[in-house]
Symmetry: C2
Subunit: 215 residues, 2 copies
């Protein structure tokens, strides 16, 4: 698959781009906001395009053209305000879905957040973040795209273990290394069991490929 | 019609409640956030219920029970931040739609904003407000409710004239007294020409009832 990664400069995004670049199965196109980010990637031999999620949809559509799948892992980040969350995590995400549809891309994998689907469990302090993720996910589910929504728990910077717990509705909370989130997203691309499916993801004891087959 | 007004304490909301209360055709139930607001209304002989748009859906559902229509005219207001906009104008609105559906209410009239449907024309300074209104409107259109979306231009506090310009896609910008927005919303309730319809609204030269028939 030729895969566009929106949010390629984020922590999970960088991991996904690296894995796709090293893969025999996929080729990657990294979508970034800044010229210097694109240059940095191109130096490593990685195809990079510039498009701003707060800008016009047309630039994203152009970036998606010719791709088989889009991975959305962009986020305004914890340090920005609710206005940026609305513009990037919600409007930026939906624009990317619309751009994918219009560019003829069928497959769309979304990096969401644990409990984004469950309004009553939203953390008070960042409720606006959950609102944005919640509605972006609902738009994706209502779209014509063949989606997968991955809802990871608390994100850790430690190295991945390759082992996870994945389920449509996990009862426990938990955390997971970003590297394992990236591996799960990449493995989902071609795993038909994750098509039109949303699932929770935390660190666990099952190999990723096995876990995805059992969701 | 028995009509629930969400946002009954706002400037447009108060106008709508007054008009419905004085109407021979309708009865009104005012939904407000604070005890003292409910008491104030009850003193005037107006049915009032308390429910917080940032709270649980169940309270809104209870308020909507037995009603024939819901009017949503709540807004976090210009002085609050983007987090409140997300929680009230988007999540509060969608919760109210879900509550209406679950309570068996069929008719839903939304007070939106001019250009909320047109991403490329959003005012930079309050783009987050347009994002929230845009997605609330899109959810309403995708719902099972018999909706009307009214998109007024700049809101004025001066007395209404009873005359407006209404169209599915106005080319000009403009403003309108809040009292005329309220009259248009109330007139829309039973005007079948506005069912499953969204329209722009500014001050004009046509009687409201006539304008609604020509949309």
């Amino acid at each position: 698959m030729q895969v566009l990664v929106a949010g390629a400069n984020g922590k999970i995004g960088k991991n996904i781009v690296k894995q796709l670049h090293n893969s025999d199965q996929h080729t990657v196109r990294a979508m970034v906001r800044k010229e210097e980010q694109a240059e940095e990637l191109k130096k490593k031999g990685i195809d990079a395009v510039m498009a701003n999620l707060e800008g016009r949809k047309e630039a994203i559509k152009k970036a998606a053209k010719g791709c088989d799948a889009v991975i959305f892992t962009a986020g305004s980040g914890g340090s920005t305000g609710a206005d940026k969350t609305l513009l990037v995590d919600l409007d930026g995400a939906v624009k990317t879905m619309e751009a994918a549809e219009e560019a003829g891309v069928d497959r769309f994998v979304m990096v969401s957040a644990l409990q984004a689907n469950n309004r009553n469990n939203w953390n008070e302090k960042i409720r606006h973040y959950y609102v944005a993720k919640h509605y972006a996910d609902r738009f994706l589910q209502a779209s014509s795209l063949n989606y997968t929504i991955v809802r990871p728990g608390g994100l850790l910077n430690e190295p991945g273990t390759g082992k996870v717990t994945a389920s449509e509705n996990l009862l426990e909370r938990g955390s997971i290394p970003r590297e394992d989130v990236a591996s799960t997203v990449v493995a989902s691309l071609t795993e038909e069991n994750t098509y039109k499916c949303a699932f929770d993801l935390i660190a666990g004891e099952t190999e990723i490929s096995e876990a995805l087959k059992k969701i």
